[in-house]
């Protein structure tokens, strides 16, 4: 019995720590989505599909053009940032004055387009980068370097966004627009430019997430569906547009998925997370950190 408990605890600790590592990448995705929602007041349903495109970009840059991972990563981030700006320019900008639901559904259409574009262009095979990072063993616990690296890079990415938002003029303008759209236009800020920059920034975060996720997951056209819905749930649970709430919620969700996966299949981890989400909607409908009115 004692031996059983020892093993159990090691696995539990490993799952908890792996959950924290997973939380880092989820937090990165949630930050991008929250940024766009907070500033432009639009939800990109297709956000995870941008990540998918980024993962394919990494795959082709590394596998076909033989670039090193660290050269391919900035290129991918730039590419997805450009995609984000393009998405805003082509789809969101014409709909800015339309009902919010229409904007959301239009990005749902973009989800279809990106998914099927990937199916047509890249086929439905699972592909992976072919980079196998070593496994770190501490005590009896195993952690992949890929996850540690992702966690570190995600944290650095988030700090960089924080510095950009607080220390630069453009960042300040973005925060101001998030507070009041109409007034900032009167104050001489070109909101259209701010929207494009924000969209590009959101895209860049998706690109960074793609560079990190491609180390851990195989790429296929529907890979977005594995972490897309969970990102939306995190954002809603944290309170849409609430950066800090999204950050906390990412780790809560990552732990539920990781621990749920420990006790049974990974799908049940997701089911538990969804169930938790619905229960939380009863208790805190406006998000984890919302103040009671």
């Amino acid at each position: 019995m004692q031996a059983f408990l020892d093993i159990f605890d090691i696995y539990l600790l490993e799952a908890v720590l792996n959950g924290i590592l997973l939380g880092g990448v989820l937090a990165l995705l949630a930050l991008g989505l929250n940024l766009i929602f907070g500033v432009i007041d639009v939800t990109w349903i297709c956000y995870a599909e941008l990540v998918m495109i980024g993962m394919y970009a990494m795959y082709y840059l590394v596998q076909y053009f033989g670039l090193s991972y660290f050269i391919a990563a900035p290129l991918t981030i730039l590419l997805v940032a450009a995609l984000g700006a393009l998405l805003h320019y082509l789809v969101i900008a014409p709909l800015l004055s339309a009902p919010p639901i229409n904007q959301l559904l239009a990005t749902g259409g973009v989800l279809f387009v990106l998914q099927s574009f990937a199916t047509v262009a890249f086929g439905i095979d699972f592909r992976n980068l072919g980079i196998r990072l070593p496994i770190l063993t501490i005590g009896d616990m195993n952690f992949s370097y890929a996850r540690l690296l992702s966690f570190a890079a995600a944290l650095i990415g988030m700090v960089a966004v924080y510095l950009f938002m607080t220390r630069t003029f453009t960042g300040t303008a973005i925060r101001a627009v998030a507070q009041d759209r109409q007034i900032m236009a009167l104050m001489g800020v070109d909101t259209r430019k701010i929207y494009i920059i924000t969209s590009a920034l959101g895209g860049a975060l998706a690109g960074l997430a793609a560079c990190l996720l491609v180390l851990q997951y195989d790429v296929h056209p529907f890979v977005g569906l594995t972490f897309g819905p969970i990102t939306f749930l995190i954002c809603v649970l944290g309170g849409l547009g609430n950066f800090f709430g999204g950050f906390i919620a990412s780790f809560v969700f990552a732990e539920i998925i990781s621990l749920g996966g420990l006790f049974s299949d990974l799908e049940w981890g997701y089911v538990f997370a969804f169930g938790f989400f619905i229960v939380m909607m009863f208790i805190r409908p406006a998000g984890l950190l919302a103040r009671r009115r």
Binding site: L105, G108, L225
Partner: protein
């Protein structure tokens, strides 16, 4: 009796008589698919037209299909009993998700994302319980040994055509009843301004729950019907976010503010997919969704009323026609 009423009766009689005259199986198959999906899209539009955009209908449809099939295979319960059970399950789920949403005034983006989670859960549960449901490989209801009526399994396309036609007509009838009831005015007021509607004495939560329940039950029924007709279901074809988005897409293309709009959407989407499949074969994988996606974006930007809705706008001067559509 007005002229338009007579026209409608003629059209109806022609639809009913069709399978007795014309028996080309492939075309009948297409008609049955169009009718079943039209019914599902109509159910989605029941709440979609009032600004309650749900991406959870894939979940309701999955429950309708899987509960019916599971009860039949594992307990030998006839679909005649299984379908009511499936409807009850879907209804309970709709209430569990709907009540807190409406009670705590979760609207707009929040409502869409919560319902999105719902279809995600159903998809994951079906996949996770693969010992019973076959997981992502799909599931087939067992062939009936005895009575075909008891098992609700018919090989004859004409029989299915008539069943689907009847269900579709009932769907339109429900739409018409709601369209002429006070519920419609209450919900229109709510979609314009919730606070004002509540102040005017509309019970916002109850009205929203009512329409959600009707819509969810109809969608689950469509799922059960689809399962009985196709005799094969997989998580991707009857549940999940893709199916939910497919409903939204068809309803918007056809026009979700008019009764026959979702039907027009179903005709367009299914014919588009079939044409692509026939002309390009397996090379068409992905192309149909690519075209759907582009069309969806274009429609939302340029024609948010949908095809039928915009046409009707133009023919407003002919009320006799509009009255029936």
């Amino acid at each position: 009796m007005r002229k338009s009423d007579i026209g409608m009766i003629v059209v109806l009689a022609a639809l009913v008589a069709l399978p007795f005259v014309y028996r080309e199986p492939y075309h009948l198959h297409l008609m049955v698919l169009i009718l079943i999906w039209s019914f599902a899209y109509t159910s989605w539009s029941m709440m979609g037209r009032f600004g309650l955009v749900s991406l959870g209908h894939g979940g309701f449809m999955g429950i309708g299909a899987y509960v019916t099939a599971l009860l039949w295979n594992h307990l030998g319960l006839s679909p005649w009993i299984g379908i009511p059970f499936a409807l009850i399950a879907a209804g309970i789920l709709a209430l569990i998700v709907g009540y807190p949403c409406f009670r705590f005034r979760i609207t707009g983006h929040y409502f869409v994302l919560v319902t999105l989670a719902l279809s995600g859960i159903v998809l994951q549960v079906i996949t996770a319980t693969r010992d019973y449901t076959g997981g992502s490989l799909g599931y087939t209801p067992a062939r009936a040994a005895g009575s075909r009526v008891f098992a609700l399994q018919f090989d004859d396309k004409a029989t299915w055509y008539l069943i689907a036609l009847f269900v579709w007509l009932v769907g339109l009838l429900i739409w018409r009843l709601i369209d002429r009831s006070m519920t419609r005015y209450a919900l229109e007021a709510i979609s314009e301004d919730e606070d004002a509607a509540a102040a005017a004495g509309v019970n916002v939560t109850a009205e929203k729950l009512k329409i959600t329940l009707i819509s969810a039950l109809m969608t689950a029924f469509a799922g059960a019907l689809y399962c009985q007709y196709q005799m094969f279901i997989s998580p991707d074809t009857v549940s999940g976010i893709a199916v939910s988005l497919q409903m939204v897409f068809a309803a918007i293309v056809g026009g979700l503010y008019v009764a026959l709009g979702p039907t027009v959407g179903a005709v367009i989407t299914i014919l588009l997919a079939e044409t692509l499949r026939i002309s390009f074969g397996t090379g068409a994988v992905g192309w149909d969704n690519l075209i759907y996606g582009v069309l969806l974006v274009l429609f939302i930007i340029f024609l948010p009323q949908g095809i039928l809705g915009s046409l009707l706008e133009r023919f407003k001067r002919k009320p006799s026609l509009v009255r029936w559509i």
